[in-house]
């Protein structure tokens, strides 16, 4: 117990400082809190910081629509927090519009086009390039008295929530990358849970396991979306780990060489040819829902890769005590063993909302109120807001798994990925190339050539 409290206290101090060090220029990990965060311990408890003179109780009968994506556990937690707010302000009704990640952005964009977007919406920073061409879609959180931005990580606001010079949303979380482990599989194959994998070791071990047990695969990963799946796994994680840089720069230029890309595609091919990874077509049936993959549930998959924000759903899918987390794989003899740590999930308020003030008040309350934080728990990883984070730490409500993953990521945080890599069209071309490698339609070298021409051509048009 004491060890757990100490560990969480350490993580709380480290996470509060880490994102201050993360910037687009260079990763500078720090264990000191950002200067702007030092005031959080002196905040008044009666009203959430930043609410000013406004009270929703004076707004008359108000109905707000709040959209988010997530798992069932996240939906339940968020609904509970909404219920609490509605008890505090009975004149306010909040309607939840929730679903899985797949199709969420498409629905949101369609709603924006039709002028029917919800009052509040959960945002993913991957979509920031899409918002760049648009003005005045969101309330500028830096210019409203209803929000106290000093209660959030400055770097999270600057690096993830600022578009066109405006703060389009409140950072909802801090999330680290890692592996989600099914301990039953590891026990079955006598693999220590704390194994830190290199890609090469993973392929060797996974190949042996699959040879002895054809239905078992060490890894499951889907073809994916622009924000997850084989392409980011190889082209971000492996290339960054092996060569110390991402495949593109902020200016939309491919900086990975043909040799580096060929090597990456070769690793990708080996993952599947060796039987380490579940056949791509099968795993892809569970894109964004790997916790529902029967092979995962039945202990025939060793691990998958994902963010701390998804720990809850993986843990809930397995029997008690069967879930663990691990560090993501690194490249053998690679230049970098940093782990991605992002504050990529934001809560935005539509600038066209008929109840902008109430919606903004609710957004600030949801992100900063200690009671709300306890209800929402860590279904979005740990909160980015200091008050909310402190509430969870004090209550011992942050799971060991999340604490551990954040600890690892905080110790060596990777630089932010250039957002051009998350452009939908660019991502789909890259995904197609990766798939062709997996299915043997392209050799790694051919894939590298195709990547350098086709992906660059598309990036030149979308920049």
């Amino acid at each position: 117990m004491k060890k757990r409290i100490a560990s969480m206290a350490l993580v709380s101090a480290l996470v509060m400082g880490t994102l201050a060090g993360c910037s687009n220029q260079a990763p500078t990990s720090t264990s000191q809190p950002d200067e702007s965060s030092t005031a959080q311990s002196t905040l008044p408890e009666s009203e959430p910081a930043g609410s000013g003179e406004f009270s929703p109780a004076d707004a008359g009968n108000v109905t707000l629509r709040f959209a988010w994506w997530g798992s069932d556990a996240r939906h339940e937690a968020t609904l509970k927090a909404m219920d609490l707010y509605m008890k505090l302000y009975p004149n306010v009704t909040i309607e939840g519009e929730y679903q899985g990640y797949d199709g969420y952005q498409q629905k949101l964009m369609t709603q924006f086009a039709g002028g029917t977007e919800p009052d509040l919406m959960q945002l993913d920073y991957y979509w920031n390039p899409e918002w760049k061409g648009q003005e005045n879609l969101f309330v500028d959180m830096a210019n409203t008295p209803l929000v106290n931005l000093s209660q959030f990580q400055k770097s999270a606001i600057d690096d993830y929530m600022t578009v066109n010079g405006k703060v389009i949303g409140l950072p909802m979380n801090s999330s680290g990358f890692g592996v989600m482990i099914n301990k039953a599989f590891f026990d079955k194959h006598s693999i220590p849970v704390d194994t830190v994998w290199t890609w090469e070791d993973m392929i060797e071990a996974g190949g042996k396991i699959n040879k002895e047990n054809p239905g078992d695969h060490l890894l499951a990963i889907e073809s994916g979306t622009t924000t997850g799946g084989i392409c980011p796994f190889i082209l971000n994680a492996y290339v960054y780990s092996r060569y110390g840089h991402y495949w593109a720069d902020e200016n939309g230029k491919i900086i990975a060489s043909k040799e580096e890309l060929t090597n990456a595609f070769d690793i990708l091919q080996q993952l599947f040819v060796s039987g380490t990874a579940q056949p791509l077509g099968e795993a892809s049936l569970f894109t964004g829902q790997m916790e529902q993959n029967p092979k995962w549930i039945n202990g025939e998959i060793g691990f998958t890769v994902d963010w701390t924000a998804t720990v809850g759903k993986y843990k809930a899918s397995l029997p008690e005590g069967q879930f663990a987390v691990g560090k993501p794989p690194f490249a053998k003899n690679g230049d970098n063993q940093d782990i991605r740590l992002v504050a990529g999930m934001g809560l935005g308020v539509s600038a066209r909302s008929k109840n902008v003030e109430v919606a903004t008040h609710f957004a600030n309350w949801l992100m900063s109120d200690p009671d709300a934080s306890l209800l929402m728990g860590t279904q979005r990883s740990v909160p980015n807001n200091f008050q909310a984070f402190k509430a969870l730490v004090d209550a011992g409500a942050i799971s060991e798994e999340i604490t551990q993953m954040l600890d690892w990521a905080e110790t060596a945080p990777a630089a932010p990925v250039p957002l051009i890599e998350f452009n939908s069209e660019v991502g789909d071309i890259a995904k197609d190339i990766c798939e062709q490698v997996v299915y043997g339609q392209l050799t790694p070298e051919q894939a590298a050539d195709r990547f350098l021409t086709d992906v660059q051509a598309k990036m030149d048009t979308v920049r």
Partner: protein, 298 residues
């Protein structure tokens, strides 16, 4: 010159159909016109349209490889699913066209899938049925056969998706059933007297007598098949390896994933023209082959 006299009764008729006309103007004609306009623009979904002439159409035919991929997949899908669906519907209708106790129960059971349609829930069910450890492969394993990568291999995925369409044969079956009941019994009696067997009677009497309904079913299913979307989106998302990347999915991606509404509008008009061409060819071909009780020849 004769003037048309509008009687009060005639005006009342217009009043009765006015709600439909209003709905048609607002929900069909206006969107049609708007999408035609947008097809000549670059239109990011939250921005304003910029007129670019035929640029979208030129890009589509000259440099968008996935356009041809999606079109090819859709044509394969249509010519795979359509015959299977029509033949299955017809065979089941013939079997159910019998005066047996409890036959209505079986007619209902076979109709139910078309009520569910290709909904998201059914698509998810289809995924679980045909995935590697799904029910279908378990049955095959039970019979001593190896599993088939129904959804995970580019060689089988499109066929598996087309089975979802075939499974919804119920609505076509009901129409065939109604048509079969209209075939005069005396034709069969006369054929029996002449010594015709069941198969010969089917091809020489049944089939020609129901060609009008056959034509209708084929046409309706053809139009639907070109626009199928849900199964490809929910089950495979166009994969593996774009093998199930149907035209409707391409259209969706352009509109709602890449937010290129102008280009997506152009795609939708090209689809409209393709369906129109196929329909026209089919009408021309069927002219000579369809029997109408009120005076057509065959």
């Amino acid at each position: 010159m004769n003037k048309v006299k509008y009687t009060k009764r005639g005006n009342m008729g217009y009043l009765y159909i006015f709600p439909w006309i209003l709905g048609f103007l607002i929900f069909q004609l206006y969107p049609l016109g708007a999408s035609l306009y947008y097809s000549f623009t670059e239109y990011n979904i939250t921005g304003t349209p910029t007129f670019v002439g035929f640029k979208n159409y030129i890009t589509m035919f000259s440099s968008d490889l996935l356009f041809y991929t999606s079109l090819g997949n859709t044509l394969k899908y249509v010519f795979l699913s359509l015959p299977m669906k029509i033949i299955t519907a017809l065979i089941v209708a013939v079997i159910l066209n019998q005066k047996l106790k409890g036959i209505n129960f079986y007619r209902t059971v076979y109709y139910i899938p078309s009520i569910f349609g290709g909904s998201v829930a059914i698509s998810i069910l289809w995924r679980f049925l045909f995935m590697d450890g799904g029910l279908v492969n378990r049955m095959l394993n039970g019979l001593g056969m190896t599993s088939v990568p129904w959804l995970s291999s580019p060689n089988y995925s499109l066929f598996t998706l087309s089975l979802l369409s075939v499974w919804q044969f119920g609505s076509s079956m009901v129409l065939f059933l109604a048509a079969l009941k209209q075939v005069p019994e005396d034709l069969y009696e006369a054929a029996l007297i002449d010594g015709a067997g069941a198969v010969r009677m089917f091809f020489k009497i049944t089939l020609p007598m129901i060609t009008s309904v056959l034509f209708f079913n084929i046409l309706m299913q053809l139009v639907n098949a070109f626009q199928d979307f849900t199964g490809a989106f929910v089950i495979t998302n166009g994969g593996p390896l774009n093998s199930t990347y149907l035209y409707a999915l391409k259209l969706y991606d352009e509109a709602f994933k890449y937010f290129k509404m102008g280009y997506a509008s152009a795609l939708s008009w090209v689809l409209f023209v393709i369906i129109l061409i196929f329909t026209a060819i089919f009408f021309r071909f069927s002219e000579a082959a369809t029997y109408y009780e009120d005076g057509g020849d065959f």
